[in-house]
Symmetry: D2
Subunit: 322 residues, 4 copies
């Protein structure tokens, strides 16, 4: 059994991790740290876990008792944590913040998108888990980059559920405001663009065409709906073959022959992709659950790879479907 | 033109008042006071009014320039306001808080439910506008009380939209929590019970049978769905006639022959009632929009009555329907 | 491995069964019969299963190849099926329709509510799986009936998700109509009352006090929110002990100390109960997922019991939570 | 008073027309024709109008008794109607279908987008009311076309409410399917592209750059959220001035300085526009209510212009806001 510690246990991504790991056949949760909730039972905060676990939040982090820790704190906090704590040599780390996603001198974290970096992840000690938008968008574009086929501007629009914004109440997360509402934000300036461009450049060195991205707040809680398009000369069949070939052996990416809808992936670790060709453009629809494939499910997928487990262990999740 | 001042102009009920009064044919808005927003344009806060008005929030309250003020501050604040300010003798007041709804020594406010107290309202100077749950529930039960027909316990269940809880972000108003969710609260202990029992007792003196009330938070923004039932000996026809007779001449209460649904009243000042008889019970469905008939629309209805205008002036609102 | 056949494979309850059984550790799905979809892949209809299974719907029902069949056809169709087909002697049957829920001469089906009839279910060959409202309401009331404590009228109000009404498009399932809407239906006359009263009478023979039930269509897809109350003399502690004692050893029923909300159970087989005492009334909140504990999850729970498996096998489902 | 007849009275757009015209100060509804509902009261179908009108649907169309008719039938039916019926010479027609939107030999209808064709509309006898997507998208782009500034491909993405698809129940309008769901459809091939390109070409003759349009089904009932962008050389101020100048005197188009959200326009005839500049791109957000500015409200706006009334008559609608 892999022994697991969770740090920052009261937030959304920690809740999802717990929901997954409690029934993962090869993990044991040793501690769930939360400074604000220390001593309370985990199901006091993640109330849907009532009856599933009697775990309590801890104020201590017995790092030498675990094989892996998941960092589920706010952005900026992971960096602080890594700087302040001396980690046991054998301890693996999966960080769900954006602190270590961008390559730079001294950053030892591997960018944890298994469909891009599976082999590196298997031997990594530290993983920077991708952002939710970044996951859905990269999966839509990676096969093109791998074929050096991003030859013109890329146009991306993505609609996210409210859980992507975390659990702190704000004006735009107020039910009275958000219900039946839509709004764009950080137009062309979303912070995930950095990691997306980094990955595209990894596969297609020198990629520097325009990347146009309109993020939209949707009136749903879970899931990211990406529609993207760019110039593509070949016929649809060629594109489908390209995507099929790129994702062969990647169990969570599914190419749909029919135009899909977002709820097909909600509460699963899957990404569903769908292609259409119009004029000179290839249109790609990409669907993911922002809290699972876009966060905690992918973190578990990375853990599975790091410890040599079946990539799908613990991730055969029942879709919510409705 | 009736000259209007609004105090506490940044909240939900003030917003609804503005949406109604801006196009009321016989009112002119002289000032909208908000200490926190003084100097800002009204449409900065009530953004749907962009293009409808260039009004700005004021820090002053020129009470002698207006004929009527609407108090839209939090509960408790109206009492403070009345105590601190000397009101010009001719100024009328409509208070939307619960501060003056209950009769007690020295309380000069008339309880502003037109279907109960229309004649008193016409000559009143100060109106305590009813609570939202209280409005929907009283309209369901008043005809029975008027006939001394509340002879057994009354059972009431009501589902409210999120706007009933105001605009302050809280855990239970967070979209991620509330969307597709339901929860009961203040079971058998809701603060509106006082005014409901007061009105029932006004019509049926000595009413003291049990009043059982389960309030429920719904996953919608606007509207209160009340289902109520109590013992009733006669046939359905008798009940329908009783209700028809009681509400004759009250333009906003409509008796439906068909089982109705909540959206029939959303964005209107109407209350739709519907009756069924089963065994020895009369079941009453009562539908209202909590922000309009349950708050700001009723406040305008009261103003219309106080100034001798057509009761419906400014209140022929387009239903949202969908 | 238990070999499973599903009949009526295209509907909502069959879809949920598939979502659960595909990852059940001790079952193998041998066939999924659908006359209208024979030959199509299962994931063409249950599109969220794309990538999870390559199963196709069959036009044949090889009954002798399986250990158990689940009947997921419309109400009335199960009776027809049982009359027309000679079932192999060893074949077990779980029927999700209401055809065999009521006891009558010649009805060999055991009513499959494990918290009521677990021992009988273990040795049964044929199970009538309870209705969704019936499950949530019975779990709220059984401990009282078991103590002969239903001494006065029972008041029940339940709000159901849209999936309870099946997948046939109707006026009241149209998104434009139902979104943000609420409506009551079959007031005091819902067809599940029969099975509820049957079970209450099983534990409290002679129970004949009034049963008042208002079913409501909610604006959500999954889950039933029940609020019920009746006279109860003792203090809250006594009620909590009574419920705790009754459900001890029943792994899916959880008593909450805090006022819960519906989403705590969505996408799980759990029922969360919560009690409050007011005046002379005990109030019970009961939360279930209508498609899981109220249908397909309970069907699997029954199968587990019939075959001597762990009652929770395959039912450790990740809650959707949001 | 303008005397009005409505043909095809049972559908969504007719319902909206009725909701608006019943309280329009200068119109009188003479008949509402519906072959399927003849004899029934209008509020049996448009149930939110209960208490507002006692009108009944007619089986006859007394065309000589009215000044204007609104054609609210399905697409294709208006053409049939015009061919089959001889219209009185003085009768004006507003057609809400797409039958006459495209210019062609013999088409006498004026395309009824007041912000494009106001002068022509004033003297027109027959109006082809624009499509809902077409309205929102054109309002986003017309000022650029008017300045010959569409110099590169145009990228448009629009999310529509469910009422845009009409009231016939379908798989994608089923609440269980659509709630919390998102899906693209008719990608790059939506039927409204024709009228959009026609209008852009009217202002910028020879416009033939690519028009890329991804329509998306949202999980809301009312409103179209458009995000569009294209190359624009100048600074943001220049764009804002251009839009301000183009829409000066058009009372329903409002330029927002702040990033707006869809509900600002729901239940109104307004279009809210908002601009941002990034790199070489101008991004335009355009918000409209598909049933009002995108259909029946615009139809009334056209009627007002045709009869020389105030363009806003009857259209000072209370926003739903929440």
């Amino acid at each position: 059994m892999i022994k697991v510690g969770i740090i920052g246990g009261a937030g959304y991504t920690a809740g999802e991790l717990l929901r997954i790991l409690l029934y993962h056949p090869q993990t044991e949760i040793i501690f769930v740290h939360s400074s604000s909730n220390a001593g309370n039972t985990v199901s006091d905060v993640h109330v849907d876990l009532l009856g599933d676990t009697g775990l309590k939040f801890t104020s201590t982090m017995p790092l030498s008792d675990v094989d892996v820790i998941f960092l589920c704190m706010g952005h900026g906090k992971s960096k602080e944590f890594i700087e302040k704590n001396e980690l046991p040599g054998r301890l693996k780390v999966v960080d769900l913040s954006h602190d270590f996603r961008l390559k730079r001198e001294g950053n030892e974290f591997v960018y944890g998108l298994p469909e891009l970096n599976r082999e590196e992840i298997k031997t990594a000690k530290k993983i920077a888990n991708p952002g939710c938008f970044a996951t859905g968008i990269q999966l839509a574009l990676l096969p093109l980059a791998a074929g050096n086929l991003l030859v013109d501007e890329v146009h991306v629009q993505a609609i996210t559920g409210s859980t992507g914004a975390g659990q702190k109440p704000t004006e735009t997360s107020h039910f009275s405001w958000r219900n039946s509402n839509l709004s764009a934000y950080k137009i062309f300036e979303h912070q995930h663009q950095g990691e997306i461009l980094q990955s595209l450049g990894q596969l297609q060195p020198g990629f520097s065409n325009g990347f146009n991205f309109v993020p939209i707040r949707g009136t749903h809680t879970r899931g990211i709906f990406v529609s993207a398009y760019t110039k593509f000369e070949g016929p649809l069949e060629e594109a489908n073959e390209l995507y099929q070939a790129f994702y062969i052996g990647h169990p969570f990416v599914v190419l749909s022959e029919k135009n899909p809808s977002l709820k097909q992936v909600v509460n699963t670790n899957k990404a569903v992709l769908y292609l259409e060709k119009h004029h000179d453009k290839l249109v790609i629809i990409s669907l993911t659950d922002n809290l699972i494939k876009g966060a905690s499910g992918q973190a578990v997928q990375n853990m599975n790879l790091m410890f040599g487990l079946d990539e799908k262990a613990g991730l055969n999740l029942k879709p919510v479907a409705f």
